[in-house]
């Protein structure tokens, strides 16, 4: 029974990894896949329903919706992956150092993190990017501002749990330096739970970016991004629903694939450290 479940979760993991890789490839080769230029406006082709020339129709400025959706994949997928990678590395490093060395710096950093986590993450992101004035870089800063904190808590508690184990002591007595202990003995032990958390986060970070862009705080127009495309198109929902539908579908499918991937990774690595404490609301 257990073996069967493990095999099933392996298959699931592989399937969703393939889906995720396909999405990344789509976003890389958006230029080659797009049938039209995503930024060429054409008044004569305004709000055309889907046709063979424009498979997803055109928007209010006659731009090809399919091409914009493909180019939007680049923005959405890459910015989410980049931000998750940055926060993952930074947060984990801070967490390992805090847990390993402890002391006053650790206490101060943990109080700061308590404070940051006292805000709902998106509320802080909306305020930060609103004050910084929008744009993709500012949106990343805004989401990253709170995004690194759960990794710190996770890594720190992982370190504290194993810090006084015999094999760590043995490594220390045999002359290993602090850095080598952290890199060779501590990190491998807590890596799977950190990686799981990072994978689970990809989907919600994507939703975060899309939300900021929808509110006009993410990418600047006319840059193709799903959230901002939906926001631009919402005024003519009645006359050209495809302008909302297709970027919406692309967003939902992508987020679902990454969410499933996160769940599959969690099941496969059998990580149960993700308690209610570090759950971040979307």
């Amino acid at each position: 029974m257990r073996l069967k479940r493990k095999r099933l979760s392996d298959t699931m993991l592989r399937a969703f990894l393939i889906f995720a890789v396909l999405l990344v490839l789509t976003s890389i080769f958006a230029k080659n896949l797009a049938p039209n230029d995503p930024y060429t406006t054409n008044i004569a082709q305004m709000k055309q329903p889907p046709s063979s020339q424009y498979p997803f129709g055109t928007d209010d400025m006659g731009r090809c919706v399919l091409s914009r959706v493909l180019y939007g994949a680049r923005t959405s997928v890459f910015s989410a992956l980049l931000l998750v990678t940055i926060t993952f590395i930074f947060g984990s490093a801070v967490g390992i150092l805090c847990g390993y060395y402890g002391g006053a710096a650790d206490r101060i950093i943990m109080r700061i993190i308590d404070g940051i986590m006292a805000f709902p993450q998106m509320i802080l992101a909306i305020a930060v990017s609103g004050i910084l004035g929008g744009g993709m870089l500012n949106a990343m800063i805004a989401l990253g501002f709170a995004g690194w904190t759960p990794y710190v808590r996770l890594a720190r508690s992982g370190v504290l749990a194993i810090k006084n184990e015999d094999y760590i002591k043995a490594a220390r007595f045999s002359g290993s330096g602090s850095f080598s202990i952290m890199a060779k003995h501590i990190l491998p032990n807590i890596f799977s739970s950190l990686l799981t958390y990072a994978t689970v986060q990809i989907g919600s970070v994507m939703l975060g970016f899309a939300g900021l862009s929808f509110l006009g705080l993410g990418v600047k127009r006319p840059e193709a991004e799903w959230g901002s495309m939906i926001s631009e198109a919402r005024g003519f929902l009645a006359t050209a629903p495809w302008t909302v539908l297709y970027p919406g579908l692309a967003l939902v499918i992508t987020v679902m694939v990454f969410n499933y991937l996160g769940d599959a990774v969690r099941d496969r690595l059998d990580v149960h450290v993700l308690g209610g404490n570090i759950e971040i609301e979307k």
Binding site: I116, F119, P120, I123, G130, F214, V244, E281
Partner: protein, 309 residues
């Protein structure tokens, strides 16, 4: 119990200090001169003379940390400054808008519970059967759809195709229906997941096995024991949902023109009205912290076994 509450309140102090410091600093992360930004937001011509006076009246010539404690002292007295754009006290604007947001958030919370409690029980009892898979697919989808898309789909279906509701809520009761539904779908998705897990755990406990062995009907121990314990889950999920509800309401309010804090802050961002953005952040954080504290305390009252701190 009182000692526990006292300890929790004490632990709140450093958190609130950091929270207020972050909120205060927000004002200064924007590029440019704060005095100039204030004048631009008020639509005044920034001559050198006026700029100097504004800088002085804002206390910009004093050290940052002094200004912070000044601001904190005023905040403790309930004064969050004056809006640049509307010349009204920020706290007054917040209170009014917060009332509207609470109506929206509370009705969404109620609706989410109404949807999630029965579905959570159903999926747990019918584990790994068709119903379970269907509901789980729904919860998964609900967790992957952005709130704004749900709102637009609802508008498309019920306002444009069926014309059952007005598109813009403007604070009316009839206009409350769609924003509530839009806000509660992701929330319900999360709740169902929690309930399912909780009830499955309860169903695996010894007392349930014992009851089953004695031939007690499932409906009896479900309502008597399992659901009683699931009450604790309700308290937990409410605490978890608050952040999402506030975030969702910013988006929902800006779509349906519901005059709550979300709309207030989006207007403030457009108008570069920094004190309002700052006030918004502080209010939400304080409410969020207090609600989390209250859920923890309630949890302890309902379940005296919890000793973990």
């Amino acid at each position: 119990m009182l000692r526990y509450i006292g300890r929790r309140l004490l632990r709140l102090i450093p958190i609130l200090l950091v929270v207020s410091f972050i909120a205060f600093s927000l004002m200064y992360i924007a590029p440019g001169d704060p005095a100039l930004k204030k004048l631009v937001a008020q639509g005044l011509a920034p001559s050198e003379e006026v700029l100097k006076l504004t800088r002085e009246s804002m206390g910009l010539d004093r050290p940052f940390i002094v200004r912070y404690f000044d601001w904190l002292w005023n905040f403790l007295k309930g004064d969050l400054g004056v809006s640049y754009a509307k010349s009204l006290p920020v706290s007054q604007m917040m209170w009014k808008a917060m009332g509207k947001t609470s109506v929206l958030a509370l009705s969404a919370l109620m609706l989410s519970l109404i949807i999630a409690v029965p579905l959570g029980i159903l999926t747990a009892v019918r584990r790994n059967r068709a119903t379970d898979y269907i509901v789980r697919f729904f919860t998964f989808t609900a967790n992957s759809i952005p709130t704004f898309l749900i709102a637009l789909l609802l508008i498309y279906a019920f306002c444009i195709k069926l014309s059952w509701f007005p598109v813009l809520a403007k604070g009316s009761i009839q206009g409350l229906v769609l924003p509530t539904v839009a806000l509660s779908i992701p929330c319900a998705g999360k709740f169902i997941k929690q309930f399912r897990a909780e009830i499955l755990e309860q169903l695996g406990k010894d007392f349930v096995l014992g009851a089953q062995a004695r031939g007690v009907k499932p409906s009896v121990f479900l309502t008597h024991d399992v659901l009683h314990n699931a009450m604790l889950t309700i308290i937990t999920v409410i605490g978890l949902a608050i952040g999402g509800l506030f975030t969702g309401s910013v988006v929902i309010e800006s779509i349906f023109q519901w005059p709550g804090v979300g709309q207030l802050v989006m207007d403030a961002i457009t108008a570069r009205d920094y004190p309002v953005i700052q006030g918004f952040v502080v209010y939400i954080a304080v409410i969020y912290v207090i609600i989390n504290l209250l859920t923890d305390i309630t949890y302890r009252i309902f379940d005296p076994r919890v000793k973990a701190d």
